[in-house]
Symmetry: C2
């Protein structure tokens, strides 16, 4: 999950002078923010500071963030012509500043701290592109999916190619692992996930895997169709807190590692309850083929940095 | 699910002259809106027009709806004293206008159309009371739950008593079935549902069941803990589209009926895709002990009334 954020004083200080997009656009600053949690929290890996929607700028969709609100897409996708008009991106040229941030962060990180690159999954990116921002019901997204499946498949195919190549480029720039974020895919029925999303996620993951870097395939609300989600690919499956982590292993098999799955809200709990939940996850994961302890989604802005540190220490200490 | 709404021209016409709260507060209008979908759609049952948050007015929490936005709670619950201050409601006195709407709607409905009364479940009501409105992350709700479990349990216990007695009062006023809506409970981990919510839902359902009316226990996002959700009670379990309905029966057993479970977005699909999804649900439910065909959540405002009618006719026609 994104490690840096509003809950960190050093991040808030930078944000007083720079917008989110400024931070992302300036490789030196993005690399600096990438390193903040490593120093502050003592985590085992760093995740690149970026935003999954950055490719929308070179795609011509328009991207902005209003203070305290979610992203706004100026030119959302409505019809076939909007998809056909999307340029094919060259990550080196169109998102070169992200790759430069990867290089700078990699160079600045201690050798034993791997750097994780990431991108949004085809469905989650398409949902923002179609809705024009965040959504609770994903009405426009599903309407396009049902009413114009050819347009839908073209859009998700374009997104799959884009993020597959973008992730591979991040690996070439120095990212040692890659994460694909399908944050909103849990709004779908299992059947719709299989029909309208899975083939595109599979393509994106295969393109990224060609880089040789290990891949984390993350989603929230995936418990109802976890087997299908896992079948799309990923060396590591990232799950949220809505499924006990041992049940997740039972369903996807022990050939895969799992990342997860503390409820971010547990970091707002008193230490005994928080630590109980952490220990429960560690115990359920014991003896499994690979566990990356993580939150089930991003750190909430209300979180105390000391609580995050305490969890890292507890996981390290056993 | 709520049947009346912005997607119906006759409802929009009434809303030009009356706020949502005006409609709810005026038994004649609430009864009139309750009957609209029966006439227009040809459904087999009517669901009372009301709002799950109406009890917040006599509780002193303050309730308003801004145009195009969700509910706003003027005096949210923050601490123990806020819960202790909540009055114990007498449904006949404090929500008498809802019971009068039940009586009027029951008298006006054809004899073969049952009337369904409803209330919000303790968790969902508490989440609105604590957040002060809608939420995506339920941060304040979970913070109270973890940091002050005694306050939490007192709050949910009060809500359970309130809605249990309120539902029973609706049955006495003429509602022939009762529905408990736990719309947002899917934000919880299975373990947290069991610890912090299940006992209170069980109490609310038991109080309502004492009326003798059959009870529908509905939630969204409950697939990860459906067995626990069902164990709280309900003659009928309402599920959303995130689980195949035959899988739901496999998990809760054939002693219970199930209500569901079409994705409301399927009503925005072209007829062949929409009908395919309807037929799939009907086929999966065939031979089961009891199926109430319904959407997995409310009708989306963008829905064409003709699409809803077509689904009702398809289900009736087999």
């Amino acid at each position: 999950m994104r490690q840096a954020g509003r809950y960190m004083p050093e991040y808030r200080k930078l944000r007083e002078q720079h917008s989110i997009l400024d931070l992302c656009h300036t490789p030196e600053l993005a690399a600096q923010v990438t390193l903040q949690p490593v120093t502050r929290l003592g985590v085992d890996a760093a995740i690149l500071f970026a935003d999954i929607l950055l490719p929308f700028e070179p795609l011509g969709l328009g991207l902005s963030f209003a203070a305290g609100e979610g992203p706004h897409i100026a030119n959302p996708i409505e019809r076939l012509a909007d998809v056909e008009r999307l340029p094919v991106l060259d990550p080196e040229e169109d998102l070169g500043y992200v790759l430069e941030a990867v290089r700078l962060a990699r160079a600045a990180l201690p050798g034993d701290i791997p750097l994780i690159g990431f991108a949004g999954a085809p469905f989650t990116l398409a949902s923002y592109a179609v809705e024009g921002g965040s959504s609770r019901t994903f009405t426009r997204t599903k309407t396009l999916m049902y009413q114009a499946p050819d347009t839908w498949n073209l859009l998700l195919g374009r997104m799959a190619d884009l993020v597959g190549h973008y992730l591979a480029a991040q690996a070439r720039a120095g990212a040692q692992a890659l994460q694909l974020f399908d944050s909103w895919v849990g709004c779908l029925s299992p059947a719709d996930y299989r029909t309208y999303v899975l083939p595109h996620s599979r393509r994106a993951l295969a393109l990224a895997a060609a880089s040789g870097a290990p891949i984390i395939h993350f989603g929230t609300g995936t418990a109802p169709f976890l087997e299908d989600f896992a079948s799309a690919g990923g060396d590591v499956i990232g799950v949220d807190w809505r499924i006990p982590i041992d049940d997740a292993w039972g369903r996807i098999g022990e050939s895969r590692a799992i990342q997860g799955n503390l409820d971010p809200a547990a970091l707002l709990a008193p230490a005994p309850e928080r630590d109980r939940q952490v220990r429960d996850i560690v115990a359920r994961a014991a003896g499994r083929p690979g566990h990356i302890f993580n939150l089930g989604h991003g750190v909430l802005p209300e979180t105390d940095v000391a609580a995050v540190r305490a969890v890292v220490e507890l996981v390290h200490g056993g």
